[in-house]
Symmetry: C2
Subunit: 98 residues, 2 copies
């Protein structure tokens, strides 16, 4: 019984860590569209497409830009005001695009 409760708690935690809000992410994504495209398909080949990308990977990169682990002068400025929840919402939004 203890094992089952523990497994359920773990599952809830990991769901919580991944579940971004697509609509909230879309609302925050306006500034991203300049380089990554209105629908997550970038028209500038130097910048990555984000449409359909894994949310977990996007969150990891946003956090890496914020911590300075991954360096990019433009992205450093972009992520500075983002909370963890903002990042999860943006990632959920881009993952939801085709």
């Amino acid at each position: 019984m203890r094992t089952i409760l523990f497994a359920a708690a773990l599952s809830a935690l990991s769901f919580g860590a991944q579940a971004g809000d697509v609509a909230a992410g879309k609302a925050k994504a306006g500034v991203c569209a300049g380089c990554h495209g209105v629908n997550g398909i970038s028209s500038v080949p130097m910048y990555p497409n984000l449409a359909g990308q894994h949310a977990q990977y996007i969150v990891k990169q946003l956090k890496a830009f914020k911590s300075g682990e991954r360096k990019d002068p433009v992205m450093a400025g972009m992520v500075a005001p983002l909370s963890d929840a903002d990042m999860e919402n943006l990632a959920a939004y881009y993952e939801s695009l085709k």
Copy 2:
């Protein structure tokens, strides 16, 4: 006339810089499939999908992993043996996937 020749030369140069060989890239991509999926769609959400990604962005990231500008212990090992031509071929292959 001089301007036209110069423009043509520039155009040829920039084409040369981007044009990877899809078939050669596919032949090199076997080891990438472990994490990025057989068709460039990763089954592990921590790793990015590469299918349809811009070749220019992929080349830029591969070079950044090789130079150490972008740090990742797995990718550092993966890119170590790659030439610039290998990177362009891999990038052309992944860009060609849906």
